[in-house]
Point group: C2
Chain length 591, copies 2
């Protein structure tokens, strides 16, 4: 059975050596000293490694079961959920007034990776609750907050988000679910929603569904969509639970992975719902959840890659097969361990350099979120908004690819379910799809985010890379990192330029390159992260750190990313600059 | 449920317009006129689409079942197998004296793609039999051939190949299975083999296992390995079946995919075996199977990609979601079909250009095999030997990636088993692993095949590309294709040069780039194929073909491959030229 060890040390390195969180002026960051964050991360590491990770295979094998309208989660999930709740992990970054601990998002993200790495299907129950609670926090009335948040922050009640219908996923304007206004100010919600993660299960007393629906007579399409709170059980004025509402699970889906999470068809039959936020402004309210969810999904890409890598590494060190061509390394054994072979190294280094770069990227993203929310910094808000599709699309695509590489290290055993490597790829696969398929992320990036505020945020990103390169360029020790980063960044700017010059005339010239642009952007971000990590480790070594091996490993891994991964940017640029013609040449009938 | 339509027209195009098989001097090719091959392909298309494809999902859902030592295949498999046998499909390219039809490998390959595309797990039963029969044909005594081949060619008896043991896969020198010589010239084989595809099942009267084992006292390691024929039931002199041999199935594996094929743990307990080929030369005999099997696996990569693409295309044309940014295409509907969106096009064109290029590559490879076997052409033999790891490694990696792209077109539905797209990726995944994991293919290519016969075959390949470019370079209509191909080919040559200059000093400098080299080589091969297809279609148009749309589509697809896929070669070269240092910098303990 595969194992999981939370990468506490690496998270600490990013928080303190690279991001230097406790030096930040952002409210709450002053508390994040190394001892404090270490205590939290160690505790989270223990829970995730010892309790959640062993349930990962159980969840995959057993899956969820629907019987007479009740969904049963896999054996052990319920007890583990109690432990998670008791530990206060569900409200880490939620306001104290609703029972949370009001910690910054950056610490929530660091902990969140561990949870997802240990057991993605399990962690989704609390992840979706967190998203739904955030939407209520941002858009709810005082009464709604008081009614739902305390129990959602503690995960006594869980939450869901209901967008997709059988005939519409990305294009929510086609939605058919209706919400009829009632005299008492509530609505009767009717329709069918599909792919509702954690839509029904046996781990919470109540489930608070956030449901997109149309109020009859409203504007056509996406502009007539509103968001509703639809509890599974009605909540009485004293907070106790009342009658069952008109919402039920129609079916649970058989999926490629995340079997431990119940993916439900939800039927709404004149269910009582309460408008959340403004009428017809449901998409805006839903995007509070979606943006947070996208960052969470980005982290899932990293998390599955990390756990798959950990197990590939164990196997590569244990499994004896063949001999080192440059000389026997294990003369007393019948063969050398796999890790002596260059092609196994290539695979492991691809994984390692991705994981550590992605961890820095997600935690940097979380500091931008904190800066936006806690400092009201509009630039930080604009930047994280620009980076969200990159984080989601690039990290989940790459994260999936890394799980495939990790599985490959196992040879035939990687294909056998008993060894657990298949589950990592099957679970990781969903992250490329949900919360906006990655093609939609690329569209959001190129079709919307690039031009936001007159292109101000993408220019700020370029400036950020440029000033880092300028600042560091004088240091010869940084040359291995700065030169490749400069080149990659130029490719990104050229791609942006190509879109500007050609996209106005023909939007397809930009959209044909959107996916490549997302990946090109992602590589530049990881290149920047590795540049920053190289700087941090050079400083640590110069300052006489006792942990030289750790920092020298960082520098070697940074060099690997620059030498072996960043060359992808030229390819993406070439594809982008080939424009719309190759992509759009054929009539649909010619396919 | 997904569907499958055998790509008869495209196979015909490659056979006749591109490869011009009936003009070849290779014995048997004169019979391959367009009408004849069309009749065969149409018939194979009917059987595979109507009988095998509907059983694909059944096989996945039901899997194989082991009960009291008997393996039961999924419902419907047995009847379908009877139909395949009755149609004479199992001996298409086998000698007439053993009941085959003695057709060239090129037609066997064209048909083989259809079988694998319709149902890979099912087709493996006959595929492994074919491989085992080929080994007996090449290395068996006259008596062995007479005893086993007629029933194996007809698939009354099926075959297996037994290499892997729990502690050794790639490194077969570590093998523990023993074969003790007996007074009557037979051997007693004892040991355990794992991952034995079709090792036990209920569709054949007998199963002929080819088993690698060591004769005690022989040379150490891989040089002491011999190959044995171990029948499930002993064969009496009159050809009737005798006693059960000492071989039994210990377990069947639960796998990520190809559930319809039984992957067995096989226990040999003093089973009677007969030496096949020379003592201690088992690897050579096994490689007769392996090389054939590797080409078959390459084709599986293409086949799964093709069927996944077909279904992605249907969905992209049917599913209404969003609007074409350049203007509404389906004004009467609530939205436009997915296929209007550039990023969906990118995905479909990636798939289409891969499939058609890969089909040309595999069929070209099959003509080289025919040339080697039927004409005794040593150059053709050397070239296909060089290309085998490229075919296997590149086409299965890319084929898998394409199934992932196809699945992505379905959005959330791609993740739900009901829609069948997940199965294509899960089934395709094994092809990157079995018959030598793709990292081992890359090692074989760079560590062995490049230098074979003093590098003669790789030089011949370069010459072949060069002369094609020279010959076609004068034609302006070919410029779109020849220029990118020239560039890609130069990258391949530079990579080869880098290995020569650095690999002698440090083998790791070559092996660190082996995987990239395999992919770089694959792109050049597909570039060459697209160049040849462009030539064929330009000729067809110039000659006044009535099917202008077909050929213009070929030209557009060729342009796509050149513009959007070939730029990968520069990236692979850059990675290769970064050498061993980034890959090998870390000590194993530093990971």
């Amino acid at each position: 059975m595969p194992s999981y060890v939370a990468p506490v040390k690496d998270a600490q390195y990013i928080l303190h050596d690279v991001l230097k969180v406790s030096e930040s002026k952002t409210p709450g960051y002053d508390e994040l000293d190394a001892d404090f964050t270490n205590a939290i991360l160690e505790e989270a590491g223990k829970l995730t490694s010892e309790v959640l990770a062993p349930l990962n295979v159980v969840g995959d094998k057993e899956g969820c079961r629907l019987e007479n309208g009740v969904v049963y989660t896999p054996k052990g999930f319920k007890d583990a959920f109690e432990m998670v709740k008791e530990g206060g992990w569900t409200g880490l970054d939620m306001p104290e007034e609703f029972g949370g601990q009001n910690m910054p998002a950056v610490i929530g993200s660091a902990v969140g990776e561990f949870f997802s790495g240990a057991n993605q299907a399990f962690t989704m129950y609390q992840g979706l609750t967190h998203g739904a609670a955030s939407a209520i926090l941002a858009h709810g009335t005082e009464e709604q907050k008081a009614t739902y948040l305390p129990n959602m922050v503690s995960c006594e009640w869980t939450g869901t988000m209901n967008l997709t219908e059988p005939h519409c996923g990305t294009d929510l304007g086609l939605m058919r679910t209706k919400a009829e206004p009632q005299d008492d100010g509530s609505y009767k919600v009717s329709g069918q929603k599909i792919f509702i993660s954690a839509g029904e299960h046996d781990m919470a007393d109540n489930i608070i569904h956030l449901v997109l629906a149309k109020i009859p007579g409203g504007p056509e399409g996406i502009k007539g969509v509103s968001l509703f709170i639809v509890p599974k059980f009605m909540v009485n004025e004293d907070g106790s639970l009342g009658a069952r509402n008109g919402v039920s699970v129609g079916n649970i889906e058989e999926k490629m992975g995340i079997h431990g999470n119940s993916t439900c068809v939800m039927n709404y039959d004149e269910a009582t719902g309460y408008l959340l936020g403004d009428m017809h402004k449901g998409m805006r309210a839903m995007f509070t959840m979606m943006n947070e969810a996208r960052l969470g999904v980005a982290m899932q890409g990293l998390a599955q890659s990390e756990v798959a890598y950990q197990n590939a590494l164990i196997y590569a060190k244990d499994r004896l097969q063949g001999r080192d061509v440059t000389g026997v390394k294990n003369p007393d054994g019948p063969a050398d361990p796999l890790i002596v072979h260059p092609d196994i190294r290539r695979s492991l280094m691809d994984q390692k350099s991705f994981n550590e770069g992605a961890r820095a990227f997600t935690l940097w993203g979380a500091t931008l979120l904190d800066d936006a929310h806690r400092n009201g910094d509009k630039d930080a808000d604009g930047l994280i908004s620009l980076l969200t599709p990159v984080l989601k699309g690039f990290l989940t695509d790459e994260g999936y690819d890394m799980t495939v590489l990790a599985q490959q290290v196992y040879g035939g055993h990687g294909y056998i379910e008993e060894w657990g490597m298949s589950q990592f790829t099957r679970d990781a696969r969903i992250a490329m799809i949900y919360e906006g398929a990655n093609g939609v992320q690329a569209l959001d990036l190129v079709g919307r985010k690039l031009a936001t505020d007159g292109g101000k945020h993408v220019m700020a990103f370029f400036e950020l890379v440029k000033s880092f390169c300028k600042e560091q360029g004088a240091d010869e020790a940084m040359a291995d990192f700065i030169e490749p980063l400069k080149t990659a960044s130029k490719h990104l700017q050229s791609a942006g330029m190509f879109f500007m010059q050609n996209g106005m005339k023909n939007p397809n010239a930009a959209l044909s390159g959107s996916y490549d642009f997302m990946h090109l952007f992602g590589h530049v971000c990881l290149g920047l992260m590795w540049g920053k990590m190289a700087r941090a480790s050079l400083d640590a070594l110069a300052n006489g750190t006792s942990d030289t091996a750790f920092h020298e490993t960082k520098l070697a891994t940074a060099r690997y990313y620059m030498a072996r991964r960043l060359p992808a940017t030229a390819m993406h640029l070439a594809r982008i600059e080939s424009g719309a013609d190759p992509v759009m040449a054929l009539d649909a009938e010619a396919f």
